[in-house]
């Protein structure tokens, strides 16, 4: 809709758009999802800040050197990195409309993600078994909150992944499913970016300390 006004200064009619023209469905989804990821980034920044402040307060309890096994963390890191590249392959096969291959790569991504969560949970169980519970010291509270929040995100990503595989299986690679897969792609790669911060600042610098 255009509205005409007649400003007294010039006497010439001027036009401007009063309504925004219609956008196709999902037009702003990726920008909106990116802004959600950025806000999620701020949550992680706060948890990293808390860990940075409290990470040295062991309360005479176990220190990172006693708890962390770097070879296991390296395996865990490679699981997440491999799941990132296999999700990339899923996106590539999606662009080529190869539905079966897309599903296969998504399934492989899910298995790597599951392996990551499994290793992390067994690490947590081992720590808790040794008495290194979140209640033990400020360092452990901050550690479990930060790493646990990341693990929770990956778990949510896995649920989302399975949901989308069912969606693709039922409806195929329709426009809406492509958009959803693209959002999950951003989410998944974003979690890998956060994990870079976790293994560097929590595990490597913790053992170094």
């Amino acid at each position: 809709m255009t509205v005409s006004v007649n400003p007294a200064q010039t006497g010439e009619p001027m036009f401007y758009l009063a309504d925004e023209h219609p956008h196709p469905e999902g037009y702003s989804t990726s920008l909106g999802f990116w802004i959600y990821l950025m806000s999620d980034c701020l949550i992680f920044a706060m948890l990293f800040a808390a860990f940075g402040v409290l990470g040295g307060n062991y309360a005479a309890g176990p220190a990172p050197k006693d708890l962390f096994e770097l070879p296991l963390v390296a395996v865990n890191t490679s699981m997440l990195l491999l799941s990132s590249i296999t999700y990339g392959f899923a996106m590539l096969t999606m662009q080529q409309n190869k539905i079966a291959q897309t599903q296969m790569w998504l399934a492989i991504t899910g298995l790597f993600g599951l392996a990551f969560i499994g290793i992390e949970l067994s690490e947590f169980a081992h720590m808790i078994h040794e008495g290194a519970t979140p209640q033990r010291s400020a360092f452990l509270s901050a550690f479990f909150t930060l790493v646990g929040t990341h693990g929770l995100h990956v778990s949510c990503g896995l649920i989302w992944l399975v949901t989308l595989m069912v969606q693709v299986w039922k409806f195929g690679l329709i426009e809406a499913n492509r958009r959803r897969l693209m959002c999950l792609s951003m989410f998944w790669h974003f979690l890998d970016v956060v994990w870079i911060g976790v293994f560097t600042f929590v595990y490597l610098l913790g053992v170094l300390r």
């Binding site: 390296a74 990195l81 951003m186 790669h189 890998d192």
Partner: protein, 126 residues
């Protein structure tokens, strides 16, 4: 990444203009770089190859920053043009917020700790 192939590719996908299109070579390059940038910090810490802990810490933090940039470019397809530059704006804003939050928290809390009265003086006061 090759901008020419992107431009050519964007032509036949009118529905998602403004997204960088992923390529196999782009993902593989990002993956290989990430593996190298992950392996070196782990090796540095596990082997203790560098003489001082401070140097090792600085080097692995530098590797983390580089790897985050690699992930942003090759996996998240960040560039200045996607979404008319708005995703880059949101990213820059977030980086500013994160830097303020992290450096501010560490700075303030560190000073708070050093301004605390030492334990032996506190017990003497009663």
């Amino acid at each position: 990444m090759n901008t020419d192939t992107h431009a050519a590719h964007a032509g036949d996908h009118h529905h998602d203009d403004g997204h960088a299109h992923s390529t196999f070579s782009g993902y593989m390059l990002g993956f290989v770089l990430s593996v190298v940038l992950t392996a070196i910090p782990f090796w540095l810490v596990m082997s203790g190859a560098l003489p001082s802990k401070q140097i090792t810490a600085l080097v692995i933090m530098a590797f983390a920053v580089v790897q985050i940039v690699v992930h942003m470019i090759y996996f998240l397809h960040m560039n200045t043009k996607s979404e008319n530059g708005w995703s880059m704006m949101a990213l820059i804003f977030t980086i500013v917020m994160v830097v303020i939050a992290l450096s501010g928290s560490l700075w303030v809390m560190n000073h708070l700790n050093s301004n605390m009265m030492p334990m032996h003086e506190m017990t003497g006061m009663k």
